[in-house]
Amino acid sequence: MIRVEKRPQPSQFWSAATPVVAVLATMVAGGLLFAVLGKDPLLAIKTIFWDPLFGEFSFYYRPQLLIKGAPLILIAIGLSLGFRAGIWNIGAEGQYIIGALVGAGIGLAFYPLEAWYIFPLMVLGGAFGGWAWGMIPAVLKVRFGTNEILVSLMLVYVAEQFLASMALGLMRNPDGMGFPGSRNLQQYGSAYNAELIAGSGMHWGVLSAFLAVIFAYILLNRHMLGYHIRLTGEAPRAARFAGVNPARLILFCLGTSGALAGLAGLFEVAGPAGQVTIDFNVGYGFTAIIVAFLGRLHPIGILLAGFLMALTYIGGEIAQSQLGLPAAAIQVFQGMLLFFLLAFDLLTNFRIRLARGEVA
């Protein structure tokens, strides 16, 4: 008979070990999945986790790690603040799109003017767009008590339609000979989010991601607001007695995560993506949810988890081209990771005891 006993205090050891165990379990289960698909499981795992870092073409893939990891980290840091306080923003994908549209819109409006202030304005616009989109569920929740999970998610679909309308209409490249999509911002110096050091993958978005990690760490450990966020998540009743203002917390958490997601979108559209197209967003907003949990909602953890998840994206692409592994297999792989993580989390808060059947 297996018995599950609640621990008086969450285990520090398991709290840190769970993500590692979950990743290992995902590799095993993923290997089985790849074997079922008729691929050599060891080769596939090696292609995904080893080749991008140490393989023959790693000089090309290593910068990609920063490029793909940065948006994930930026979004996940914002989400983790809310998740800690039980405020569930799952519409980061929408905030990402709107941030990118506002930012790119500002850049395109200035075309072909070359000036130093265009890119900073775009960054502000990106943050503002994401913030505003995140404030919709926040205000509705504060004012009417509407469920923020459903509203933020519905707004993703609205944002996707809005993106389609922009890419095919207002922002379409007038010199594009009728093709959908905006002008390429990579060819517009003042608006291009170029690499700070050529060939390193280091662009302004990566820098912002690192800054966000530091900012979140200080907020959570050294600041009253961060303390309130943690308190609300861990002991809601105590938080009420301590005079935490829930409305302020909701507005802050959803607004901040929106702004960070918007920034991530802007840096992506002005840099690696370059163009506003119907499908320039690739689901970072949803994958960032996995990153936030994998990083245990802790800034440093999220930093590591973001790079790990970027690795699965890059390795997944390599496995796709070299082994013919379907793209969806990587999506399944990422989903499995979250499953194992949540399942093994049992060990953090509970103790498993083998006990003889006893009479209650």
Binding site: L140, M154, F339
Partner: protein
């Protein structure tokens, strides 16, 4: 623009078709939430049901086999949610999201070889005289059987929850799981069954989209219907008949915007396509003031030692 091209009778008939997937998923989720569990994985279970149903219907040539396997597929996927929330005691919101993310990837993987195929047609009801009646015929008597199943399921769930002992125990578990446990009811077992029922219903709803409504398989084809179904449960204040009403309202909005697109209204297509999602938000705002009817233990983790 030519609004006269919209035929009101066909509009109502297609509204019922558009509403059925939402209704099926919402009725399943309603039972789950009545048992005190919030499963945000409806979208994932729907899309899994959509591909399971589509694949088996194509392979066997029988829509019936398709629908049955869709229900089984949805229920099997919901078992993952069961393991996480009932046995590993994980957070229900996070587990539901995991289920949706996993389901979307898993269905895409299963469905690779089925893109562009045509499923076998589901026969429609054809009652000699009744189905040929002018207005009533197309609206009431010439749909596919699954549509009627959705309505029957609504009635059944209503009756079971309201009049039977099983319904009473289910509601007790959802209102106060500690008290139900003290009375000797198997809280976890009842919740597991409720979650699997929800999964089966969501799977059916998904298969309805891929086998009847569209009918085709494309990745991510449920496009948020599962989330709308979740909103619908709130809209319905956890009452089955109001879920039916709500589903027809959303079905109406969806069909109306498609008709307006076809009629060439001067509003761009993208803005019309947004409307079901925007209306969901508006409805949520109007109805969220009253939370009194929500099951009291909704979303709380049950652990017998507490």
């Amino acid at each position: 623009m030519d609004l006269s091209s919209i035929n009101p009778v066909l509009l109502v008939a297609s509204l019922m078709v558009a509403a059925t997937p939402i209704l099926l998923a919402a009725i399943g989720e309603l039972v789950v939430e009545k048992a005190g569990v919030l499963n945000l994985g409806v979208e994932g279970m729907m899309i899994t049901g959509a591909i399971c149903g589509f694949a088996l219907a194509v392979e066997t040539g029988s829509p019936l086999v398709g629908f049955v396997s869709a229900a089984i597929g949805g229920a099997l996927l919901s078992l993952l949610f069961v393991i996480l929330t009932q046995y590993a005691l994980a957070n229900q919101v996070a587990s539901g999201l995991a289920l949706t993310l996993f389901g979307l990837g898993f269905s895409a993987l299963l469905g690779q070889d089925y893109v562009g195929l045509k499923p076998p047609a589901t026969p429609r009801l054809d009652i000699p005289v009744l189905s040929d009646l002018p207005v009533v015929g197309p609206i009431l008597f010439s749909h596919d059987p699954v549509l009627y199943l959705g309505i029957a399921l609504t009635a059944a769930v209503w009756a079971v929850l309201k009049f039977t002992r099983v319904g009473l125990v289910l509601r007790a578990v959802g209102e106060n799981h500690d008290a139900a446990h003290a009375l000797g009811y198997k809280v976890v077992r009842i919740r597991v069954l409720a979650i699997m029922f929800g999964g089966a219903c969501a799977g059916l709803g998904g298969a309805y989209i891929s086998l009847i409504r569209v009918p085709q398989w494309t990745e991510g084809m449920t496009a948020g219907v599962g989330w709308i179904a979740l909103a619908l449960v709130v809209f319905a204040s956890w009452k089955p008949w109001r879920a039916l009403l709500g589903a027809y309202l959303f079905g109406g909005v969806t069909v109306m915007q498609l008709n307006l697109q076809a009629a060439g209204v001067a509003i761009p297509v993208e803005y019309l396509a947004m409307s079901p999602y925007l209306i969901t938000i508006v409805v949520l705002v109007i109805l969220s003031a009253d939370k009194s009817s929500a099951p009291a233990s909704l979303g709380r983790i049950f652990h017998a030692s507490n």
